[in-house]
């Protein structure tokens, strides 16, 4: 059975790349889904989507933070 939050995490992660505001939600959703999938002992699937969403969320967050930090420092 597929963990429903895995797909949600992936969608949020992809949205976080152009819209950084989604990044915290993608990270939260991806991390929770991964934890559930690992704890299910193979019953739940969707690890790739959850992991992808988590990574994409982290990239989105990092981009947002670096962009904001650049603005604050350079301006």
């Amino acid at each position: 059975m597929r963990d429903r939050a895995a797909t949600r995490a992936l969608v949020l992660g992809l949205l976080a790349l152009p819209f950084g505001v989604f990044a915290p939600f993608a990270i939260w959703s991806g991390a929770r889904s991964l934890r559930r999938i690992r704890a299910s002992g193979g019953e739940l699937r969707g690890g790739a989507s959850a992991g992808g969403g988590l990574i994409a969320g982290l990239i989105g967050l990092a981009t947002f933070l670096i962009g904001t930090a650049y603005w604050l420092i350079a301006s």
Binding site: L10, G13, L14, L17, P18, F19, G20, A48, S49, G52, I55, A56, I59, G60, A62, T63, F64, I66, G67, T68, Y70, W71, A74, S75
Partner: protein, 559 residues
Amino acid sequence: MIARILIWLLIVLVAAFTYPGALIVSLATRVAPPPTASTGPTGAVSWLHVAHPPDTRPYIADEQGRMVLLHGAIPASLLEFGPGSGPIYPLDTAAYENGQCPANSRSSRYPPLCMADLSQMAALGFNSVRLPISWSLLEPQRGRFSTAYVDRVAQIVDWARSLRMYVIVDMHQNAFSHFVGAGDSTVDLAYNSGAPDWATFTDGMPSHVSAGQRELNAAVLEATTNFWYDRDGIQDEYLAALAFVASRFRDDPVVAGYGVYNEPLFGWSVPPGFEDLLLFPFYRRAIDAITGVRDGIPCWSGFFMPAPCGYRDLGVGDRRHLMFVDTGLLREVTDFPTHLGLPLSSYPNVVLAIHAYTHIYTIDALTGQKAANATYPWGGYDQSYDLAEREAKAMDAALFVSEFGNAPADDDLILNAQLLEQEKHRTGFAFWPWKESGGGNWGMFAPPESPDASSGCLRVSRERMLARAYPRVTGDATLTYHYDPSDGRFTMHARGQAGDPTTGVYVPRSVTGQITSDGAVRVVVSDEPDGSRIAFASPTGGDFVVAVSPAPLALTGCG
């Protein structure tokens, strides 16, 4: 396994094409070595460039490294507005030779631009003219550029040369194009200009203007979006058209630079993604195309180019002119940055151009508030300028007010406040518009009394405020100055070491007070043939003051 690979591929692609990719390319331009300037002949005026001092905001500078303040106006008669097509005034330069000026046309809201206009500008102390041109006249048929149109631009550049003025050639547009469709009675195509018919894809969207704003039109938004996404390669054609103009003036210092795109409308996209992922990457590609620098990554062309994409060298090899990049149109409404302020290009001569329409097009005005008691912008007139300084600094660009203006009734309030901000932030300006022949009421001149006349008389409030004393060039980029339009009083505080470049203070003919100086400076006053004066201040080491005493203004305007 395949699903896993596809997911990661998708993430990498989306990351590369959106903010992560855009951020990496932008930051890379900050560490890339600046390209060497192209060589070119010296001319009637000094070549301009953007100086990048380590501790202050970049600024427009001349060959001696002095900060240059450009003051000017915007004549609009080279634009093609709707509803018809084709130039209203002759493009044949012979029609303007030896002081001739074609008769005014009732079909245009603007009178023809003639040599006498540039002389009038110079007499007001303007050292520049922002010259808007229309893509629709430049490339009326796809791939076929109008040499006659560029000849006409060159004629105006030659007039400017004779008066030692600069020209900013501005690729103008208003609500994308007048080919968006006549639509219903809400649409007045006389206020639309820009793209040619073949580059205007409205996809059947209805042409209907909402809230009286020409941009709030589904056909306009659709056509604009198609441009930003390079539908059918129209963005490539635009860059080719810009390159066609730039190659003509490659070696001409009288052309200060190019306005790449006027008042960019977001289309169906939303800020800040519009600016950061579509608009500013487009500017980077324009700079790549004209200068040959390679800031973005090599990509395809002819259809949508994502943010990290650079552009091929179009063979102009122009690495001397300034590139004026307008902020997104929504910034005019917010007086607040609508983009991240990321570095744009390793090309050093980038100028961030803002349009300053506080209390005219800002949220308060659009919601019906009066300027005198508006509740927005919270930071007053200074909000836009203060934030623009920060944006320019983050982008490593100079700052320029490429457009501002207002109804004459608001001169004491709005125009005065804008000019004070420009003094405070040491930025030049281009005033919109120079003359109108009817319908409009913002021009420097009153409407003509007879239909055939080019214009009425110079509005006295405009003469009082815009023909002002100011430091045209200065070796001290941190100087402060203030001109009081009520009595012509002027004070400038600066400092410099012995041997530093001279500061040139322009004093218009209408300002009659005595020029004085104090402190570590030697001042020589030059009386110019047109009645103006220029005080050349050579620092001798330390602080100094150049001032003009209060005296009745010798104004010639009416009203």
